[in-house]
């Protein structure tokens, strides 16, 4: 076998030499033959003639020798390649469209699939990641499938401890929460985001630090943190990848924290994707002891051999035990157990699947278009094939010629596709707002997937070959003379035409589905961005300030700072007002509280729960939330009487007071028996809750009691662009205390733009929109090609019609009618498909139903216009047919 290959290779490399030898060898034979006849007494002329006769075709003998040496196919290939290149250069339009179609189809699909793979298919970087579950506590009153994924993923610390003690189904249960510090070192202090976790957290995930050690039992102290484990990225950027980093310290707030480990490079934890380092949980008395303060997120690993069902059953038992023991806190609590992956990607999964489906349509259209192009081209070359067949080219030879041409196009298309896939993947990732990308760290290193790329190349090329070869094969089934005659008459095989019609119809239908999808997404995005959130979102700047406890130890210090800072900011030019609150709207945060209404007795633990926001007096005027009844908070509420007053919104009144007059009613919070009754002093307009796409949220507002607070959220209303006010406010803050930092300054517009609810519409709007645009172009090209071809094939017929007195108008109608027929069939099929498929979009739609007649009508109009435009150029050409030329050209 090897020797055989070597022989062929040698023959190939010494091709010219071998040719010479073959020549010489055969000539020797021939001459000896002639000599023989001459010797036997034949005249030389006669001897030559006989020898030649017996010898047969010299070239054929040579050809067969070359064949026998096994190099002929390579020579054929070179020949075909040269010829193919010439053919492709001769029709640059066809070549460009085919390569572009292949490249975009393959590239876009690879890019999308690569992202889908990174998010949905690639295993999470933990040991046996499918054994990891999240546990959260919800009150049964909350719907389990509530909008905000994180709302039902929190537990109280005492409950967590009980789970960990009692559970056998989980071998390890860990908790974590967001954390953040002001880090001082060389240069300006910086705000760094971090995460705190129980000491068994990394053990539960099955992750080992790549340098140093894991947290040890007992390091989770309230006075902490004292130790930290760095992420690989933070270690590289902040410590220059110092291998001796262990034992070095970081100054975090007032603590000196020593570095005990570095996490592996591939470590990621989406729920705290932005964390630069991890510290042991360091929590205060209230968080440790309050069983109804649910703040910690819990991850648990199933014990070996335990099934999910067993674990659910066991958690149920533990829950009932806790409910019985603590009816006040846990009476109405349910435990939700969701796989970790589901928790992480649950929100983006529908989006990705929809994009995947949409781009799949682009691939189908690309395939149909390529098939169409190749069929048209092959049809147009029937004469050539028949001639080649007549001149002795075997069937194999004809196929190989087409194959080579198709493969050259495919290679060029694949190369373009590779670039598109590469850029496309980066573009897809780059288009995700940073905070959201932090929550999807698995996308950061998504790259064009080689396997998918290869698969798509194969699929697309297969389509090209299958359709391109059909006409070449057909010829061999026909009698050549028939084919030639047929060709002279200028008609094409009916079968081929029907297939091409079907391709164009399919393209139009797919295109319509994509356009409808894009239309619905754009409409949703627009509805969302134009939704009135209940306050004026323009010209608002939000940020936070964290007062270090060692410098501001007493509650009065915080009060003084707040007053001083608010005064300074208010006096800045262009600032219309400043307010503080505990929860910034639409930021995804939410606090809830349980309450009872005076005169509505409730069983212990079964109270209602609603959102609560601590707001300063200026909050409603600054946010421009309207007053509906009663009054806003005033300075009198700031003092000792603050505990006595509360404001509610309209939907709260509707839900809990059933239309009774709210002002003057009294409610009591139930987290502590010492809580007093508070009087409702005012009713304000409704605002959206934690997410812009959620329903209006029943909410309670209490006066912002600065006493004891060290963390302030501020909302500033500006006259002009709020982002421009940042510098002046930062300067004001620095004047008060140089060590204070403006944490996360964001305009409300930014918060909205980067919120998941907007991203989930904007991203697919852009993408499906581009896919639809691409599809529209491809479909138009397909239709144009088909009609042009048909016009060129019918030149003679049209000429006769015109000669017999047909008006140009009739010809126009004839040609346009043909296009219109295809477009209408495509639209009908497309509308049916769209009605079925847009149902899958439903979870992403906002303010528009999956069946939206306006979108459907608009899309049909667009398709009709584009289809007619695509047919118009060939129709014009048909009108211009000169009957004399048309008849003579035969």
């Amino acid at each position: 076998m090897i020797s055989d290959l070597l022989f062929r290779l040698k023959s190939l490399l010494r091709r010219h030499h071998a040719e010479g030898e073959l020549d010489e060898e055969l000539r020797f034979h021939f001459e000896r033959h002639v000599e023989k006849y001459v010797r036997s007494g034949m005249p030389r002329g006669e001897a030559l003639r006989r020898a030649r006769l017996e010898f047969g075709g010299l070239d054929r003998a040579k050809e067969e020798c070359r064949d026998a040496r096994g190099v002929r196919w390579i020579e054929t290939l070179l020949q075909d390649t040269r010829f193919g290149l010439r053919m492709l250069r001769k029709s640059p339009g066809f070549t460009a469209v085919a390569i572009l179609t292949l490249g975009l189809g393959i590239g876009a699909n690879t890019a999308i699939f690569s992202v889908v793979y990174a998010a949905l298919l690639r295993p999470l970087p933990y040991a046996q990641p499918d054994r990891l579950f999240t546990l959260g506590e919800v009150r049964s009153q909350q719907e389990l499938g509530s909008d905000s994924q994180n709302e039902n993923w929190s537990a109280s610390y005492p409950d967590y401890l009980d789970w960990a003690r009692q559970s056998k189904a989980f071998e390890s249960i860990a908790g974590f929460d967001a954390d953040g510090f002001v880090m001082k070192g060389a240069g300006d202090p910086q705000v760094v985001s971090a995460a705190e976790a129980t000491t068994n957290f990394f053990h539960t995930l099955g992750v080992q630090p790549f340098l140093g050690r894991d947290f040890a039992v007992g390091e989770d102290i309230a006075a902490g943190p004292k130790v930290a484990i760095l992420t690989y990225q933070f270690w590289r950027t902040q410590f220059g990848g110092d291998p001796n980093v262990l034992g070095r310290t970081m100054q975090l707030d007032a603590n000196s924290v020593s570095i005990i480990g570095v996490l592996p490079k591939e470590f990621e934890f989406a729920p705290r994707g932005g964390a630069q380092f991890w510290v042991p949980i360091h929590i205060e008395q209230e968080q440790v002891t309050r069983r109804n303060l649910r703040w910690m997120r819990v991850v648990a690993r199933l014990s070996p051999g335990t099934t999910v069902t067993q674990a659910v059953a066991e958690m149920g038992t533990i829950r009932s035990r806790l409910s019985a023991a603590y009816p006040q806190e846990d009476g109405k609590i349910q435990v939700v157990m969701i796989p970790l992956r589901e928790r992480i990607v649950g929100q983006v999964r529908p989006l990705l699947l929809v994009l995947f489906g949409a781009v799949g349509f682009v691939l189908l259209i690309a395939c149909a278009n390529v098939a169409n192009l190749f069929m048209a081209r092959a049809n147009g070359r029937r004469v050539e094939f028949v001639l080649r067949a007549a001149l002795g080219a075997g069937r194999g030879r004809r196929i190989s010629q087409l194959l080579v041409e198709s493969l050259m196009l495919a290679a060029a298309g694949a190369a373009l596709g590779f670039l598109v896939a590469h850029w496309g993947t980066s573009l897809l990732i780059g288009a995700i707002p940073k905070p959201l990308l932090n929550s999807m760290p698995f996308l950061r290193d998504a790259h064009a997937n080689a396997f998918v790329f290869a698969f798509l190349c194969a699929a697309t090329i297969f389509a090209a070959l299958a359709f391109g070869l059909a006409p070449a094969l057909q010829i061999s089934h026909q009698r050549m003379s028939d084919a030639l005659k047929d060709e002279a008459r200028g008609s094409s095989g009916a079968g081929g035409t029907r297939l091409r019609d079907a391709c164009v119809v399919a393209e139009i239908a797919f295109c319509l589905v994509l356009l409808v999808g894009a239309g619905l997404m754009v409409k949703s995005l627009s509805a969302l961005l134009h939704r009135n959130p209940g306050f004026d979102a323009r010209n608002l700047l939000t940020f936070s300030v964290n007062l270090p406890e060692n410098a501001y130890p007493k509650g009065a210090d915080g009060v003084r700072f707040d007053r001083d800072f608010a005064n300074r900011v208010s006096s800045l030019p262009g600032i219309l007002g400043i307010a503080s609150n505990s929860v910034i709207p639409i930021s995804g945060d939410n606090n809830t509280i349980r309450f009872v209404i005076e005169g509505q007795p409730v069983t212990l633990g079964q109270e209602d729960e609603s959102s609560i926001n601590d707001v300063s007096n200026a909050y409603f005027p600054v946010m421009k939330i309207p007053l509906v009844a009663g009054r806003f908070f005033n300075d009198a509420d700031d003092s000792a009487s603050a505990l006595k007053h509360v404001i509610v919104n309209q939907i709260w009144v509707t839900r809990y007071l059933h239309g009774e007059n709210p002002v003057g009613k009294r409610i009591k919070f139930t987290y502590s028996p010492t809580q007093p009754y508070r009087e409702i002093v005012g009713v304000v307009g409704d605002t959206t809750g934690a997410a812009l796409d959620g329903p209006d949220d029943p909410a309670l507002f209490v006066p912002f009691s600065q006493a004891g607070d060290t963390y302030f959220n501020y909302i500033v209303r500006t006259a002009g662009d709020p982002a421009l006010a940042t510098a002046a406010i930062r300067e004001a803050l620095r004047r008060i205390d140089p060590q204070l930092m403006m944490v996360r300054p964001l305009t409300m517009d930014q918060i909205i733009a980067e919120s998941p609810s907007v991203f989930l519409r904007r991203y697919p709007s852009y993408l499906i929109g581009s896919f639809a645009g691409l599809a529209l172009i491809l479909a138009a090209v397909g239709l144009y090609g088909l009609i042009s071809y048909s016009v060129s094939q019918r030149t003679r017929e049209l000429g006769i019609r015109i000669a017999l007195g047909a008006q140009r108008r009739d010809v126009l109608r004839l040609v346009m009618g043909e296009g219109a027929r295809l477009a209408i069939i495509g639209v009908v099929i497309g509308v049916a498909a769209a009605l079925a498929l847009t149902q899958l979009l439903r979870s992403l739609l906002f303010g528009v139903s999956a069946f939206d007649p306006a979108t459907l009508a608009a899309v049909c109009c667009v398709i009709a216009i584009v289809a007619m435009a695509a047919c118009y150029a060939p129709a014009r050409r048909a009108m211009g047919v000169d009957p004399m030329t048309a008849l003579r050209c035969e």
Partner: protein, 110 residues
């Protein structure tokens, strides 16, 4: 009748070529002449099949080619058996004889 040509069964040409050059290296023309003479003109090998067969055998490594000088002092390509070729000749000869015997037996009894 002596001139009546026989169609060679598939694969026998290879056997005949191998056998013809088994004694000494030969060039193509000599091989065809010799086959014709030994078979009393019953076998006439066309160049169109002889040379492709030679090249095919060479590719298989059963024979090898060498340029030499012919009896009339001209450059000619001589083919000789390789070691594998010699073994192959034995195998093919054996197979052929068994085929002949089997065919003869069938013809004899029928």
């Amino acid at each position: 009748m002596a001139n009546q040509r026989i169609e060679l069964p598939q694969g026998t040409l290879d056997l005949l070529i191998l056998r013809t050059i088994a004694l000494e290296p030969q060039h193509g023309w000599a091989i065809s002449e010799r086959l014709q003479r030994i078979s009393s003109d019953a076998l006439r090998i066309q160049q169109g099949s002889l040379y492709p067969a030679l090249h095919r055998l060479e590719r298989r490594g059963w024979i090898k080619a060498r340029w030499g000088t012919s009896e009339n002092n001209r450059r000619a390509k001589y083919y000789e058996l390789t070691k594998i070729g010699r073994k192959q000749l034995e195998i093919e000869k054996d197979a052929w004889e068994r085929l002949i015997a089997a065919v003869a037996q069938v013809l004899g009894t029928a």
